[in-house]
Symmetry: C2
Subunit: 235 residues, 2 copies
DNA sequence: GTCTATAAATCGATAGAC
DNA sequence: GTCTATCGATTTATAGAC
């Protein structure tokens, strides 16, 4: 939505507005890490940019609107990272690992934004429905690999515990139109998405400190485990 | 550490101090949900209790010390929940599910405390080393089930992707003295712990909204999947 | 141990001059 | 569109009377 404003700036006025909007978002992202998302302060952003606190209200009319812009931008960037890492011509196991690594790398260089997306929700703030579209891009990248493996006939059968179709939301069953996922396949993609976010969160939040010995190596191991569970074959 | 103060109160003075310490902790826990952990305010706690803001410094000499007490108390409670749910005489699959459900129930009724433990870390705050002991109790409960299944000779062999022993911290390899876990078994317990926290976080933070259709049912399915991966046999 | 008073900051948001 | 000034509130923390 705000990125729309930054495309095709025609007049000098529009360009100036787009640039300042960008600077506000960048400053806000820098500040996410200093006091946490819930303490994000419009005033502090204004101070960092050398502008009056009231001037910023011309760009974002509330703190929540700025938060929404940051969240959608974050979901889009992590979706970009996942899609950019994916080479549809490669083998499923390689695609899977590449997507996982792309997401992790984005998270490592944008840890506060990752926390904004997947950490504790900001109290009193509710993300608008349109954020769901951007939020779905990363798990969809994972689903695409599974769908392609299934179409190629190389998807492994589900492991022992199977998923009751009644547990999956009707809308989610159609998450990848044309893929023809059954409940088990859908559930395995959901758990893969949850696993990816969960293991990155553990690494970023220090829960693996003195538990694992090699973060990148354990992450790759987790990716293999997750991919195998999803039905992909790893060498 | 603070709970020590509450055991064996001898004089009336000590009992009064213990009770007020308890009230401060309870009030702080109530406030965790209002503005998030990073906004936890000693003054607001004092106000809620009808005491002067300065008086509270007699009980906790800083906000970080109060946070530490809350974190250790939370880890201990979730460890209690896991241990209380475990019946060592039951079958491994039943024990596993019971522990999972016990942890989820604690999280559902203490969601802000759960977020304090496993959500975004509070900026500028570092948990003291002694918190690690309390933090380990919940995953240890999971490990105990796996260890007992191994001792009984009913632990399934590892699934295809195996874990390089170099990826596990040397201290973690001894996480359950006497269990004789190898790297694969240790890694599977770590991932089970991560899975449990991850799926509860997803449920609490709304990421499963309109994705799954039955939170409790999908949680049980996840528990079965996780237990099977850990090597337990589910009917 | 509890109180008042205070220090030196911060915040979101608005009004109104220019 | 940007500024100053302001409102009414918040915070952590300390000093000192009682």
């Amino acid at each position: 939505m705000y990125t729309d404003l930054m495309n095709a700036p025609r007049t000098a006025r529009q360009r100036a507005r787009a640039e300042l909007t960008r600077e506000i978002l960048d400053a806000a992202r820098r500040q996410l890490g200093e006091a946490g998302p819930s303490a994000l302060s419009l005033r502090a952003v204004a101070r960092e940019l050398g502008m009056a606190s009231s001037a910023i209200y011309r760009y974002f009319k509330s703190r929540d609107e700025l938060l929404t812009a940051l969240i959608i931008e974050g979901y889009d960037e992590i979706g970009d990272a996942a899609e950019a890492a994916d080479d549809p011509a490669a083998e499923p196991d390689e695609r899977w690992t590449a997507i996982w690594r792309g997401v992790r790398e984005w998270a490592l260089t944008n840890r506060h934004e990752f926390a904004l997306l997947f950490g504790t929700p900001v109290p009193g703030y509710a993300a608008p429905p349109q954020a769901a579209v951007a939020a779905g891009r990363m798990p969809l990248a994972l689903a695409r690999v599974v769908a392609d493996a299934k179409a190629a006939g190389v998807l492994a059968p589900p492991p022992a515990p199977t998923c009751d179709p009644a547990l999956i939301d009707a809308g989610t069953a159609e998450l990848l139109p044309g893929a023809g996922f059954d409940a088990d396949e859908t559930a395995r993609v959901i758990l893969a998405w949850n696993r990816l976010v969960g293991i990155v969160s553990y690494e970023l939040h220090g829960h693996l400190h003195r538990v694992t010995a090699d973060d990148a190596g354990f992450f790759d191991y987790t990716a293999r485990v997750s991919g195998a569970f999803a039905g992909l074959r790893f060498a």
